[in-house]
């Protein structure tokens, strides 16, 4: 099973490497958001730990949705879905592989986008290690649900509009935890940062388990 998951994941990552427009688009999105932020609310407010964190994670949430939809669009174009699903344990592998590859891509986006935000906004980072932990766990918690939602909306019209409606309410807990955790790490609240990080880990586990349980039913 694990090697099949790895197979799907490697396929995804290779495709992304060949055409990294997903990563590029997501990072550009974050950069544009940061610039807009500074212009619209002024650099003082933009540098506020809470504001900067919130916008960063919202951008990542959208990036997750975009990346996941692109990943499945590739699938539909190649008609590769049927073959993969037909294998025993194929659906689990598909879910696992997609989540894994998306997590890796998003970590890359988060790293570049995050560094960009820190530089452009001149954000003081009180607890860099805590920040890395929070961002890592936050990114882990995003793909499982989004993958399930994209699978659910797979061959429907208007799925570009439907997926955010399905995914964002369900992602609220993760986004709240990630934003608070990031803000805490930026402003030096070690206890706060770690508690939110713990919660994010719990979310990542719970949603991955839910996804693994439920996705076999959802993919035809």
């Amino acid at each position: 099973m694990i090697d099949r998951v790895a197979l799907v994941a490697t396929r995804e990552l290779r495709a992304e490497r060949r055409q990294p427009d997903g990563v590029v688009a997501a990072v550009t999105f974050i950069a544009v958001l940061v610039l807009l932020e500074s212009l619209v609310v002024g650099p003082q407010i933009a540098r506020d730990a809470d504001v900067a964190s919130a916008l960063f994670w919202l951008a990542l949430a959208f990036a997750t949705i975009l990346a996941t939809m692109r990943s499945f669009d590739r699938e539909l174009e190649d008609d590769a879905l049927e073959g993969l699903v037909a294998l025993p344990g194929g659906r689990d592998a598909l879910f696992g592989g997609k989540v894994l590859s998306l997590t890796i891509v998003l970590l890359l986006v988060a790293a570049i986008g995050g560094l960009l935000s820190l530089v452009l906004l001149d954000l003081p980072v009180a607890l860099p290690l805590h920040l890395i932990v929070v961002v890592l766990l936050g990114v882990l918690a995003l793909p499982p649900i989004v993958v399930v939602d994209v699978v659910l909306a797979l061959r429907l019209r208007a799925r570009a509009a439907l997926v955010p409606i399905l995914a964002l309410p369900v992602l609220v807990p993760q986004l709240v935890a990630a934003t608070r955790g990031t803000s805490a790490a930026l402003s030096g609240d070690a206890v706060g940062a770690l508690s939110w990080a713990g919660l994010l880990f719990a979310f990542a586990v719970v949603y991955t388990v839910i996804g693994l349980t439920i996705v076999p039913a959802a993919i035809e």
Binding site: I145, V148, D149, L152, A153, L156, R157, A158, R159, L162, I165, L166, P169, V170, V172, P173, V176, A177, R180, G192, S195, L199, F203, V206, I210, I214, A217, A218, E220
Partner: protein
């Protein structure tokens, strides 16, 4: 698709007229009690009467979504179309009741708290729950294939229900860690004397019957549609 059940329309319509009469009668009684019989509150005056509508609708909205969950599990487990019918019916009515209790609550809040809306945890969770179930209905609305639609909806129905308490806890936790000043009493309901409690119970009973009646009608409507779908194959 291996199921070939022809929906049995007979049992529900026989109960339904009686259910309808009972619902209408108790609704009238409850409304009279709520508007005229129950005493004026010492603190809130007469505006609190809105709660006689707001609270029952809230209870039933939550019940409706629990039923969506159970029906979703039922469909995934047994693939019987009946469960899918119950799921969509309960979701529709649940969305209606949620929207209504949010509106009623907002109208009550303005004279009582001075604001139409506040970012209090329960309100935020309810708003998110509302959007989730609208999403559920949209997901259904955009699907054409019966069996796939039922499965998609069931999967999302289960995720949505699991998520509501998680959303609520995270919003609560976020607020407490941030120590937002809660000027507004969390409960917000008047101290209940016995006649108020009675009115509330009667209202709850009446709206439960209304829910049951709506469910009965909506489920049989869905079953009829399912019957037409099967015969088109």
């Amino acid at each position: 698709m291996t199921e070939t059940t022809i929906p049995r329309g007979n049992t529900l319509p026989r109960i339904r007229p009686w259910l309808g009469i009972a619902a209408a009668a108790s609704f009238v009684v409850a409304s009279v009690m709520a508007l005229f019989w129950a005493p004026t509150d010492a603190v809130q005056g007469d505006v609190y009467r809105i709660l006689y509508v707001h609270v029952p609708l809230a209870w039933l909205a939550y019940l409706a979504f629990v039923i969506v969950f159970l029906a979703s599990v039922g469909w995934l487990w047994t693939k019987r179309p009946f469960f899918d019918a119950v799921a969509v019916a309960s979701a529709e009515i649940g969305v209606l009741f949620t929207g209504l209790f949010l509106v009623a609550g907002s109208i009550w809040a303005k004279p009582t708290w001075g604001v139409w809306w506040t970012w209090e945890p329960r309100l935020v969770t309810t708003a998110i729950m509302f959007v989730m179930y609208v999403g559920y209905l949209l997901l259904r609305g955009l699907s054409t294939d019966f069996s796939r639609r039922a499965t998609r909806a069931a999967v999302f129905g289960i995720i949505a229900v699991i998520d509501v308490p998680i959303v609520h806890l995270s919003v609560l936790w976020a607020n407490s860690l941030h120590q937002l000043p809660t000027v507004l009493r969390a409960a917000g309901s008047p101290a209940l004397d016995s006649s108020m409690l009675l009115t509330l119970m009667v209202s709850l009973f009446a709206y439960t019957l209304i829910y049951a009646y709506f469910m009965s009608a909506r489920v049989s409507l869905e079953r009829a549609r399912q019957g037409r779908l099967w015969t088109q194959i």
